[in-house]
C-alpha cells in the first residue's frame, strides 16, 4: 500500500457523484480541508460503505466517531464520523443530525472495526444509540452513573458514587462454564492496579490452562472529563488540560490543540515559534518512546534499560524546565505561538542533548536489540497485519510496525515538517519486536529533525501580535492604556474564535492525535473532541490476545504504549 504525500494539508477528493441520488443532503468543502457530507440516517450505512469501498474514495481509516450537542437546534444531536484515505490523502466528515426523542443511528461496526469503542463512547457521553452494535454499554463512566455527561444540560460537577458491590466483571466472566471438555477455564482479572498495566488499565481474561481464550478490556478508570472541562474553560485555559492527555509527551498535545484553533482563527504562529515547537515536540516524542520502551523492558525483566532511558528523560526535562518552567506538564504552547521566548542558552542546551541522547540509545541497543532472550520473547508475539491494524483505526508507530508507512508529518505536513529531511521507520512483521525497533529508530529520526530545525532557528517573535488572540507584551500592559484594555478583554472574555468547526490532526507519540473543535463564537469552546490514538489501539488488544499466554499479554501491552490520560481523557 502506498501512502501519498501532498503539499496541501488535505487533497480535494473526486466527488463525481459516487452516491445515489438523494442520499447526501449537503456537500460542503470545509476550511480545514475536509469534505463535509450531511446524511440522513436512513442512508448512512450506504454512504459509509461507498466511502470505504469505492476505489476513488477508499476511506480506509475511520479516525473518530463522536457526538455533538446543539441544544438550540431542532435536531439536537450530530453524530460525526471522521474518515481518511491513506492512499489518496483526502479527508471526509460525515454528519448525521438526530432528534432528541429518537437518537438512534445504525452502527458502522460492520464497515470499520474501529467504530466499536468510539460508538460506545458516543452512547455513554450523549445517549446516542447505535443499532446493531454488538455490545452497546457505558465505556468511560461507571456502572452507577446516570445521565449522559456531555449533554449541555448535564451539570459538570454532578457526581455519582460507585461502591464496590456495584462494580462488575464482564457478563461472560460470571456465566457458567461451557461444558466443552473435562478441563475448566479460569477467569483472571488483570488490573486496574497491576504493575504491568501502568496505572489504570483493566483486562479480564479467560484462561484455558495457560492460554487466553477470551479477553475483554475495561477502561475509564482515569476518565477525568477533559471534554466537559474544556467546555467550561476559556480557549487558552484548555492548554493546561491538554498537557495532561498524553502526559508523557505533553508538548505535542498542546501544539496540536493550538494548531487547530489557529486554523479556525485563520492565523499562523510566527516562524520562530513553529521551529521551537518542532524541536520541543520531537524531544517530547523521544521522551514518550523512552518511557514506553523503558517500562516495556522493565515488564520483561530488563531493569537496567529503564535507568538509561530515564536519564534521557531527565535531561529533556531539564530543557523543558528552562523553557517553560515545568518538567512534565509544560503549558508552553499558546494559541498563536508560545508562552515565552526560549532562554538565551537554548541552542547550546539542545546541542548538548543531541550529543548525549544517542549514547544512551546505543547502550540500550547493545543490551537489548541483539539479545536473544529478548528476541525470543517478543518475536512473533502479538502479530497484527497492516490491514487488520488499519481496520481497527491504528496509527502511529504500532501501525508502522505492521508495514504501513502512515505518518501525519509526511502525509499531511504541518508546522513545516515538509522541509525536514527524515525517514519514516517501517517494519513488516507487526509483532512486539517490530514495535520496539520502530520506536528506537523513530527516536533517532527525531534527533535528525531536531538537528535540522536547530540549524535553521529563525529570530523574531514567538507569539502573534494579534491582540484578539495573544496577550500583549507585559511592558506595554504596564504602560499603555490600549494594551491594558486588550489584556483585560482577553482575560475576561476570552479569544473570539469565529463560529464553526475544524478537525486538526498531528502526529502524536502514539499516532494520529486529532482535535475536533466546534466553536459557537463565544469565549469558550462549544465542544472539543480528542481523537486519542491509544483508544483505537487498545480496543484491538483483546483480539490480539486470543490464543496467547499471560506473559505475552504483558509484553504486548507494554509495546502498545497505552497512556491512560489519553485513553480515558
Amino acid at each position: 500500500m502506498t501512502v501519498s504525500s501532498t503539499e496541501s494539508p488535505t487533497q480535494r477528493p473526486p466527488l463525481a457523484d459516487p452516491f445515489p441520488e438523494g442520499s447526501v443532503a449537503a456537500v460542503e468543502q470545509a476550511a480545514d480541508g475536509h469534505t463535509v457530507l450531511t446524511v440522513d440516517r436512513s442512508h448512512l450505512l450506504d454512504v459509509l460503505r461507498r466511502l470505504r469501498e469505492k476505489p476513488e474514495l477508499a476511506c480506509d481509516l475511520l479516525a473518530d466517531v463522536c457526538g455533538v450537542d446543539y441544544p438550540d437546534r431542532e435536531q439536537r444531536f450530530d453524530v460525526v464520523y471522521h474518515l481518511g484515505s491513506l492512499e489518496h490523502g483526502h479527508r471526509f466528515r460525515v454528519k448525521v443530525p438526530l432528534g432528541e426523542d429518537d437518537p438512534v443511528v445504525p452502527s458502522a461496526v460492520g464497515i470499520w472495526k474501529a467504530a466499536d469503542w468510539f460508538e460506545r463512547e458516543a452512547f455513554d457521553m450523549f445517549g446516542i444509540r447505535f443499532q446493531g452494535h454488538p455490545d452497546l454499554r457505558r465505556i468511560l463512566t461507571h456502572e452507577a452513573f446516570h445521565g449522559h455527561p456531555l449533554r449541555k444540560d448535564y451539570d459538570p460537577s454532578q457526581r455519582w458514587l460507585l461502591t464496590e458491590k456495584d462494580t462488575m466483571a464482564p457478563r461472560w466472566a460470571t456465566e457458567d462454564q461451557p461444558d466443552d471438555e473435562h478441563m475448566d477455564t479460569v477467569v483472571l482479572n488483570l488490573g486496574p492496579s497491576h504493575p504491568a498495566t501502568h496505572g489504570t488499565l483493566r483486562t479480564v481474561v479467560r484462561l484455558d490452562g495457560e492460554h487466553i481464550v477470551k479477553a475483554e478490556c475495561e477502561i475509564g478508570y482515569l476518565h477525568r472529563c477533559f471534554e466537559k472541562m474544556s467546555e467550561t474553560h476559556g480557549w487558552q485555559q484548555v492548554i493546561p488540560y491538554t498537557d495532561r492527555l498524553n502526559y508523557c509527551s505533553s508538548m505535542i498535545n498542546g501544539v496540536g490543540f493550538a494548531l487547530t484553533v489557529e486554523k479556525m482563527l485563520g492565523i499562523e504562529a510566527p516562524p520562530r515559534a513553529q521551529v521551537v515547537r518542532v524541536i520541543l515536540s520531537e524531544l517530547s516524542r523521544i521522551m514518550d518512546h523512552a518511557v514506553c520502551l523503558g517500562a516495556n523492558l522493565v515488564d520483561l525483566g530488563a531493569l537496567t534499560n529503564f535507568w538509561y532511558f530515564f536519564q534521557i528523560r531527565e535531561e529533556i526535562y531539564g530543557l523543558l524546565e528552562k523553557c517553560a518552567g515545568g518538567r512534565l506538564t509544560v503549558s508552553y504552547a499558546r494559541i498563536g505561538g508560545l508562552a515565552h521566548d526560549v532562554p538565551a542558552d537554548f541552542e547550546d542546551e539542545v546541542r548538548k542533548l543531541l550529543d548525549s541522547i544517542p549514547k544512551f540509545l546505543d547502550d540500550v541497543e547493545t543490551l537489548v536489540t541483539t539479545n536473544r532472550i529478548f528476541r525470543d520473547r517478543t518475536e512473533g508475539v502479538g502479530v497484527i497485519s497492516g490491514e487488520e491494524a488499519l481496520a481497527w483505526g491504528w496509527t502511529g508507530p504500532c501501525l508502522r510496525a505492521s508495514g504501513i508507512p502512515y505518518d501525519v508529518r509526511k502525509a499531511h505536513p504541518y508546522m513545516g515538517y515538509e522541509n525536514y529531511d527524515f525517514e519514516v521507520p517501517v517494519a513488516t512483521t507487526g509483532d512486539t519486536y517490530a514495535r520496539y525497533l520502530v520506536r528506537m529508530e523513530e527516536m533517532r529520526q527525531s534527533l535528525r529533525i531536531v538537528r535540522q530545525a536547530l540549524d535553521n532557528l529563525p529570530d523574531g517573535p514567538v507569539i502573534t501580535d494579534d491582540h484578539h488572540v495573544a496577550l500583549p507584551p507585559k511592558e506595554k500592559v504596564y504602560t499603555e492604556m490600549e494594551s491594558l484594555i486588550w489584556h483585560f478583554k482577553l482575560i475576561f472574555e476570552g479569544i473570539p474564535v469565529p463560529a464553526g468547526e475544524a478537525y486538526g490532526f498531528t502526529e502524536g507519540a502514539n499516532g494520529e492525535l486529532g482535535y475536533y473543535v466546534v466553536s459557537d463564537g463565544g469565549g469558550k469552546p462549544h465542544r472539543i473532541k480528542v481523537r486519542p490514538p491509544c483508544f483505537a489501539i487498545y480496543q484491538a488488544f483483546p483480539k490480539i490476545l486470543e490464543g496467547l499466554m499471560i506473559p505475552d499479554a504483558i509484553a504486548i501491552l507494554g509495546s502498545l504504549n497505552i497512556i491512560a490520560g489519553e485513553l480515558d481523557r
Binding site: R159, C225, K228, T329
Partner: protein, 171 residues
C-alpha cells in the same frame, strides 16, 4: 503498658521511639500511580533522585507487602472502590501520601467523574502539592512523613490513641 494517669511508661515510650525509628527508615511504598504523577514517581525512584537513599526504594505492587501508599494521580469515581480496597488490604501501620493536586483535592478537575481528594474515603498523612510535584517535593513529603512517624503524629497513631481522625470526612 499504660500508667494509671494514662501516660506511657518509660519502657513503652522507648519501644515506641525505637519502632518509629525502624519504621521510618524502611518504608515500603506501594505506588498507586494512575496518571502524570506516576511518571514523576518513576523519576523519584530512578537514578537522578534515587529514593533508596531514604530507605524507601522497595517498591511493591502488592498491598500486603507495603506500608506506604503513594496515591499518585487522579482518582476517579470508578477507581475509588479499588483504592479503598487496596488500602484496606495493607497491613498496619499503614501510611498514605497523597501526591499531586488531583489526589489531594481533585485539582482543576472539578468534574462529574473525579474524586475531590482521596481523603473522601481513606485517611491521608501527607499532602504534596504540585501538578505533578517535582521529585524533590515528593521526597520532601516522604521526609515529612518520616518525621511524623518518629514523633507519632500519623493518622495511624491518632487512631491508635483514640484521637479523632482529622481529615477523613466520609466513610
Amino acid at each position: 503498658m499504660r500508667q494509671p494517669d494514662g501516660s506511657s511508661s518509660f519502657l513503652t515510650t522507648r519501644v515506641d521511639a525505637m519502632l518509629g525509628w525502624v519504621r521510618k527508615n524502611s518504608l515500603w511504598p506501594l505506588p498507586f500511580g494512575t496518571a502524570c504523577c506516576a511518571i514523576e514517581f518513576m523519576s523519584v525512584v530512578s537514578s537522578h533522585y534515587d529514593l533508596s537513599r531514604f530507605g524507601a526504594e522497595v517498591v511493591r505492587f502488592s498491598p500486603r507487602q507495603a506500608d506506604l501508599m503513594i496515591v499518585a494521580g487522579t482518582i476517579t469515581d470508578k477507581m475509588a472502590p479499588v483504592v479503598k480496597r487496596i488500602y484496606e488490604q495493607m497491613a498496619e501501620p499503614r501510611y498514605v501520601i497523597s501526591m499531586g493536586a488531583c489526589a489531594c483535592t481533585g485539582g482543576f478537575y472539578r468534574a462529574y467523574h473525579v474524586v475531590q481528594g482521596v481523603d473522601e474515603f481513606i485517611p491521608v498523612d501527607v499532602y504534596v502539592p504540585g501538578c505533578p510535584p517535582t521529585p524533590e517535593a515528593l521526597m520532601h513529603g516522604i521526609l515529612k512523613l518520616q518525621d511524623m512517624i518518629q514523633n507519632g503524629e500519623t493518622q495511624h497513631d491518632r487512631l491508635k490513641h483514640g484521637k479523632p481522625d482529622t481529615t477523613a470526612t466520609a466513610g
